[in-house]
Symmetry: C2
């Protein structure tokens, strides 16, 4: 069965899907909701969508859609370093330092700012709708003195030559993707990329009052459950109301996490379990 | 003196800048770092950049850049509802239901998914680099059966007619913008949009250990300082290390907030003050 992902083809999302499901056919979807809906309808086995720091996806949308619209469980997560390369048409390889135009997604251009200001100073920066659209454009215009900034998958797909590797300014740039699926069992930890297990919950506070979040975190702290992520997000109900997305650095168990959830619910909070699943580092 | 903002023109960022600085000339910048750098160099009086949930900006970039690269103080914040409208060339107004192509930023297309699936079912959805680029394209191609999804400012700027207002799926969609400037004093609260004051700090934990965040929040909780936002973000130093961005719902004072910061530093954390400033609701 196919694996769906947020398209277009040859983006970082497809690269993440290929790492997790190397032997399955892949299908791009135009939007995050379309991709999640296809997984809910069973048209695809699983959906791979960006969760954090993605170039192409509206990142808040993924969790909002899972929380409010389509409550499919998260069955895995993968963190992929963002490696941007400068690539040109093969015809242009010897003269790449003379490129006059650089095509890429605007966020990728921003990520490669130092490189562009030094090595390709003066070249026009042209935003495209995705890094792979930029690579496609350059491959189709061999007569232009143009380069694209995109990932390795895009260079391979569109027959471009990488003339400078890792032109992004900072090495700590990563993107986080999650896998959601109708099937209840999480992904297998039998992968060399496997790094651990975690559990994600959403906590809605009963009202906005000083210290409420502190009480919620106490329930985890005294059980020595480590939290690796906590993020407040405005609730649908209007400005000033927040819910919290919390990642617990442990798999679901029979005692500790259910105990913490029961205690938080006793405080008057609503708790929604988004999944307990393995995570992978690429 | 000019006010800088993340361009292009006629986006939600320019709308936010116009609300805060109605009588000053405005200058668009291509990237968030360029805009912040111009404010740091004193070329512009202040920079208006997206902080959360923006269509055009890489949102994480704003705080990362302020924290790691260019520590300008935040002097104000404005929350603007995202109102997307369907607009066409005046020539095409009577026949707008027959449009065959809809141009917009991919995130805006995602936000108007239900409308597009019902009212304009079958119309091709074409992603552009920004909502204002989509409006510009439609204004320049009056012969095409095309519509754009963009904001009111774009309709005015490019002479398009809004044929359906508020075509976005959810009313609770807002974007948050901040103002950064070399000048130390915050924006004036003398505005009908003024909604309160807050203080933003960044806390780096000494090491990733269970309950550390809980201790940090205790310092605020027992002082009854309400937190309206808390967000963990991966640190530059690698995967698994986090820092926390915390919004305190109070202006900087002489006792409470300095006391909380001193207590958190005594725990071995590093605390960085990003600003204490008024916030506005549009």
């Amino acid at each position: 069965m196919k694996i769906g992902y947020l398209g277009p083809k040859a983006t970082f999302t497809e690269a993440a899907a290929a790492l997790l499901f190397p032997s399955q056919p892949r299908e791009p979807y135009d939007t995050i909701p379309d991709c999640i809906d296809a997984a809910a309808a069973g048209e695809i086995e699983a959906a791979v969508v960006p969760l954090e720091n993605a170039l192409e996806g509206s990142v808040n949308l993924t969790l909002d859609y899972l929380i409010h619209e389509q409550p499919l469980p998260i069955i895995g997560e993968i963190v992929v370093p963002i490696e941007q390369h400068l690539m040109v048409h093969p015809y242009f390889t010897p003269h790449w330092r003379e490129v006059k135009e650089v095509y890429s997604h605007s966020h990728a251009i921003a990520q490669c700012r130092k490189f562009l200001h030094t090595v390709l100073k003066g070249a026009k920066q042209v935003p495209m709708t995705s890094t792979s659209a930029a690579a496609k454009f350059v491959s189709e215009h061999p007569h232009l003195p143009a380069a694209a900034i995109a990932n390795r998958l895009a260079a391979e797909k569109y027959g471009l030559v990488i003339v400078q590797e890792n032109v992004h300014d900072y090495d700590y740039n990563h993107t986080r993707f999650i896998v959601v699926s109708r099937r209840k069992e999480p992904l297998s930890p039998a992968s060399p990329l496997y790094a651990g297990d975690k559990t994600t919950v959403v906590v809605m506070l009963p009202q906005d009052r000083p210290g409420a979040l502190h009480q919620v975190l106490s329930a985890f702290a005294w059980r020595r459950l480590n939290l690796t992520k906590i993020e407040s997000r405005p609730a649908k109900t209007g400005l000033g109301n927040y819910f919290f997305i919390i990642d617990i650095d442990a798999p679901m168990d029979d005692v500790l996490i259910p105990g913490a959830i029961a205690e938080i619910e006793a405080l008057g909070c609503t708790v929604q379990l988004l999944g307990s699943y393995p995570y992978y580092f690429a």
